[in-house]
């Protein structure tokens, strides 16, 4: 039996127009608008939108996005260039949050930030582990100096893609990514910005969920 497809269908197949809910539209010759259907797997950890200018990558994260976000605008792009996009959910539960309160007037902390070697991301002998495969536990924030905090935790995950230090400042209801760390790191220092001096922090070990299909567009000039 012979089956045929229309030329229009073939064109859509070849254009990589949309699939898995992600579509890319050239709204100006050098601006691309992405839309997709949020993956329920992103409910806990959020999602990342990524781009590449070659089909096989390398892929670069454009932004860490909250779970419910379903649009992204990529503006002022390189002309005459094909952009490839994908959206991936971040899967993994976060630790319980800890509150950080940095007061410059505190007399019990050093004012000197000259020795910051402890702030490097490291894997250290830390607190007792929690349930294997579960979220990080025993997150502790130790004020080290006027503006510096050392975070340590028990990393209970295995095979994670990475870990995120997330922050919720006093003036915002949402969590954002403060740092992205390699797998197995369980100690890192943070030099707090003005907004982070009064904030909540948590750590999340994550893996990537199923990627959307890749959508691509070529910019004009």
């Amino acid at each position: 039996m012979r089956t045929t497809v229309t030329a229009a269908t073939l064109a859509l197949l070849l254009a990589g127009c949309s699939g898995g809910g992600l579509s890319a539209e050239l709204v100006t010759p050098v601006d691309i608008e992405l839309t997709w259907t949020a993956d329920p797997a992103a409910a806990d950890g959020g999602q990342v939108v990524e781009f590449a200018t070659e089909p096989a990558g390398p892929w670069t994260i454009l932004e860490f996005l909250p779970a419910g976000r379903e649009t992204y605008r990529h503006p002022d792009l390189m002309p005459d260039t094909t952009f490839h996009y994908r959206v991936r959910p971040l899967v993994g539960a976060a630790s319980d949050p800890v509150q950080v309160h940095l007061d410059a007037a505190r007399s019990d902390v050093r004012l000197d930030d000259s020795n910051l070697s402890w702030a490097e991301p490291r894997t250290v002998t830390g607190p007792p582990p929690g349930p294997a495969g579960g979220p990080p536990t025993s997150l502790t924030a130790t004020v080290k100096s006027r503006s510096a905090v050392l975070f340590t935790w028990a990393d209970n995950a295995a095979g994670e893609a990475g870990q995120l230090i997330e922050v919720r400042t006093a003036d915002s209801p949402t969590w954002t990514v403060a740092m992205a760390l390699d797998p197995d790191v369980n100690s890192v220092g943070l030099m707090a910005s003005a907004a982070e001096r009064q904030a909540w922090f948590r750590v999340r070990a994550f893996t990537y969920g199923t990627s959307s299909a890749v959508a691509r567009r070529t910019t004009g000039h």
């Binding site: 497809v5 030329a7 670069t60 792009l77 390189m78 952009f83 991301p121 990514v177």
Partner: protein
């Protein structure tokens, strides 16, 4: 009249075209020719270079603290740089990551502030945010020595444009303490390529 093609043929064509692709796609209009300029490694003060890992190990807020590659000077053609940087640690702030030098000195300097703000050192304008510790950022610069146009793309978006004069120019990248900054900082670069046309 609608045109139809056999399904099998359509799928074969789709598979072939999906797997072909350019061996190495370059941004902006080509044709571009890849090349590998020579470079010198510069380590001053507390700056150390290990391959493509550039470290400022001190928090000294003065003096020449530098860990960089300085590439060969060019004066003709259109030159494109591409590289990816990842700040793996940055208790410091206001560290220059990528520079283009011209005949009159620094022509364009891209720096990062603690918290992930990327800015142009000359003028201080914000070029992008999100260069937080651990995230990878892609940088492309295109410099047309003919008309002097220099464009900087951060993660694919044109974030800075300026025009320079004739003369010799060169690229640098790594980690360098700006006059208002201080380490420590560790920056890992990857995927560094150069093209010309």
């Amino acid at each position: 009249m609608r045109r139809s093609v056999p399904l099998v043929a359509a799928l074969v064509v789709a598979l072939v075209l999906a797997s072909a692709g350019p061996a190495r796609a370059v941004v902006e209009t080509g044709p571009w020719t890849s090349y590998s300029p020579s470079f010198d490694v510069q380590q001053r003060g507390c700056g150390t270079v290990d391959g493509l890992t550039f470290r400022l190990t001190c928090s000294t807020a003065s003096g020449d603290q530098r860990a960089e590659r300085r590439y060969a000077t060019y004066s003709s053609g259109v030159r494109q740089f591409e590289g990816y940087f990842r700040i793996t640690s940055m208790p410091g702030t206001r560290i220059s990551l990528k520079q283009t030098f011209g005949p009159d000195g620094p022509f364009f300097m891209l720096a990062v502030e603690r918290g992930g703000r990327l800015y142009a050192v000359h003028g201080g304008s914000t070029l992008a945010t999100g260069a937080t510790v651990g995230t990878t950022v892609r940088v492309n610069t295109v410099h047309n020595t003919g008309n002097g146009a220099h464009r900087t793309y951060i993660n694919g978006s044109n974030q800075h444009s300026q025009t320079g004069g004739a003369g010799g120019y060169y690229d640098k990248f790594g980690a360098y303490r700006t006059s208002s900054g201080a380490g420590p900082a560790t920056v890992v670069w990857s995927g560094v390529q150069f093209w010309r046309k």
